[in-house]
Assembly symmetry: C2
Homo-oligomer: 449 residues x 2
């Protein structure tokens, strides 16, 4: 029996996770809208045997004023078109697209992921999110965005409808017999006839059952509502924790909620984000971090922090403390991120500037600074102590930050037996060690792993 | 000065336009959901120097009963994911995706086409349609679909919002100066602040201006409402005509409506569909056609015809005449197709069976049967007599029908100087001879061709 190995995602923000990434000498800022650049990144992730590449998403320009619009990157490929294009130039790596349940329709979303799963021969995954900014609401005919609990209500029903649509064609529905004029067995194609609070969808889908049965369902919310939805529906969670203890508590909390939905702990992979700042030695890593901090324009730093806590900090002294913030139950943005940052500032007595410098790269995720061996030590600690099934790796700048990780960190992980040296599965689901789901619309369960 | 040349689209239905295509010996029915097959088709179209490949779309399974579900192909790639993947494995051919304005949001549609245009270096085009079936309505929380005129109202406003969003970044908005910390010039990124009857969209888009300024806008409706929308907004029309006279009348009608919108006739390319049945000689072409007719299962033929005239024919004798049909103004489906088929049946006294055999391939478009030279003769007649700026080619079965067209018909067109031998433009727009549109959101027009 081989040693348990970790799962790895390559979380791409272009041209890097750090808010000043685009100014870094090793970032290709001029290639932000160049497909060949993205293709190179995906192929590098595949060379590193990553399980998947992951793209976040939002439906509005993030910058809230002209100065920040000047200083930050506000143009990106739309994830779905990009992942579809990447499916044609990669062979093994999974393709995780973020699609919000707030401003979309289940039929479209089920269909696009089913299509991507066929295109890629079983490598599609859906990161289920809810949209929580006023700017996004105003791009979709709304004055205000939905309340937090309403968003999660809608998200839960949305996922259910999408999974039913994926199951609307049985695996055996396709016959394709030219002689007898039978393309399909119609009795194995089912209407879903969903009528719920948010959606009425008749079905069936006009795409046959995805290669993976269901594309892998990913989630990133870590609020109470988010944890409950994840325990019921998610197969991968991307999450953000600063300390081993917090990560362990989250890990056992969510895995503990699964039994009541008839699920086993191993049916869900918990993958905290890590922001690796790599150096040949400790000094070089430190120097690398300092360079990034120096590159942050002040307005962009304040704006990023304001967005992350859903509270405008632009009128407060940047070298003073955080002002008094609303109570958690008054926050209608990302609740878990709000709490994490407020706790961090309180714990370490950080000024606004120090706080934005701290989060301008990792954005609330764990920063790991050091040599490849030191980085692997810290990953191993979490992995072997019930805090993580793997990690979502957030390169500070691209392509340099990814190249360094693949060339220097991955080999150390492999030497210690903590990560694969070759892809073993044919699909993302197989590489992640997740079962192919049974068809929920038919009485008898015919599927196997 | 070179001779005026026609434009050509490759209109793919998989595995062919004929309703019985999948049963044809030269159709790869088992590859319907195989990307490598689609890649091969797109690369064949590019080898033939086609301007573009075109994918139709719909948001429901077409078959209305289990027998037809058995006999016809009801699973396809979603066009947008497919075209995005094809953009990564082609270099010149345009990529035309159908997206309905009835069950989508302008922000998503503007963004996806902008993204595809960047991915493909300027090869994206949007075929604007409205959705007109009850089955589609029931997949999107509706009991019934919108009335014809309402659909076109919404479509008109939808196109306007999308074009504003494409213009929300000026071409010169990107600065990307690492030293001065200026990624963009924020004053060249504009909110669109659209508030209309159907949509409220603030903008700007989170994608910079498309390579082509605007992806090419295509339209296919030929009703009164459709013609008016096309005269105002379309750059390409795919249309269906049986006779030279009808096609000429449509051509001059639509081009004549453009002046009142400040547009010149050459800013719109009219491309009727043709369904080529090719043979080495007349007998082989005839034999080819007969084989396809024999392969049509009766229920599938009746169902296809019923869908095309928005009237259920399943209870009428198949070898009898068409029953009495509603008046045109009572039809809430595709009005122009209804009229075309009713007129055809009346003119030639066709039974239901004869009519479905007639339209089971070309689906109301013009069928051209014969040797490559005979096919080119007929294309040339329309092209040189004010009926067409080019053609949308509908191979009966795939890949055979496309291979034959590229290997045998295209060379004859080229010998006669009617079609390009190499791509000249860098973008679809350039290959089609269409101007790059000025930015409608800024006062001064800065763009040139």
């Amino acid at each position: 029996m081989t040693k348990k190995q970790m799962k790895l995602g390559a979380f791409f923000m272009i041209p890097g996770h750090h808010v000043a990434a685009w100014r870094h000498p090793k970032a290709e800022a001029h290639n932000v809208m160049n497909f060949d650049f993205l293709k190179r990144l995906a192929q590098t992730a595949e060379r590193g045997k990553f399980d998947m590449v992951f793209l976040a998403d939002g439906y509005a320009v993030r910058a809230k004023n002209q100065k920040v619009l000047d200083q930050t990157v506000n143009t990106h490929f739309e994830p779905f078109t990009l992942l579809s294009a990447l499916s044609a130039v990669t062979h093994h790596v999974g393709l995780v697209g973020t699609v919000s349940t707030t401003y979309n329709e289940p039929f479209h979303v089920a269909r696009k992921f089913a299509s991507l799963d066929h295109l890629s021969n079983g490598r599609a995954a859906w990161n289920v999110v809810t949209s929580n900014t006023e700017e996004e609401a105003r791009n979709f005919n709304q004055e205000h965005h939905l309340l937090h609990s309403k968003r999660y209500d809608r998200a839960g029903e949305f996922v259910d409808v999408v999974e039913k649509l994926w199951d609307s064609w049985e695996d055996e529905a396709l016959v394709i017999d030219k002689k007898s004029a039978q393309f399909a067995e119609g009795s194995k194609i089912h209407a879903v006839n969903h009528k719920g609070e948010w959606f009425s969808v008749e079905g069936p889908l006009n795409v046959s059952r995805p290669v993976q049965g269901h594309p892998v369902v990913v989630q990133a919310g870590s609020s109470e509502d988010g944890k409950e939805l994840a325990a019921r529906t998610a197969e991968v969670i991307f999450t953000a924790w600063q300390t081993l203890e917090e990560a362990q508590a989250f890990y056992s909390d969510v895995k503990g909620r699964m039994a009541k939905y008839g699920r086993k702990p191993e049916e869900l992979k918990i993958m905290p984000g890590i922001f690796p700042v790599i150096g040949k030695n400790a000094e070089e890593a430190e120097e690398n971090k300092r360079l990034l901090e120096e590159l942050i324009p002040e307005e962009a730093g304040i704006s990023l922090l304001s967005a992350m806590i859903s509270f405008d900090l632009s009128s407060f002294p940047v070298d003073g403390p955080l002002p008094e913030l609303p109570e958690l139950d008054q926050v209608n943005g990302g609740k878990s991120r709000f709490k994490l940052l407020k706790d961090l500032a309180d714990r370490e007595g950080l000024t606004i500037r120090k706080l934005y410098q701290r989060i301008a790269g990792a954005r609330g995720h764990r920063e790991i600074k050091g040599t490849p061996e030191q980085i692997v030590d810290q990953m191993q600690e979490w992995f072997e102590n019930g805090a993580a099934d793997g990690f979502n790796v957030m390169p500070p700048y691209l392509p340099g930050g990814l190249d360094d990780f693949v060339d220097h960190v991955i080999p150390v992980l492999q030497q210690r037996g903590l990560f694969r040296t070759e892809y073993r599965g044919n699909t993302l689901r197989e590489n992640l060690g997740l079962k192919r789901p049974a068809n929920t619309l038919i009485a008898k369960t015919k599927e196997t792993i």
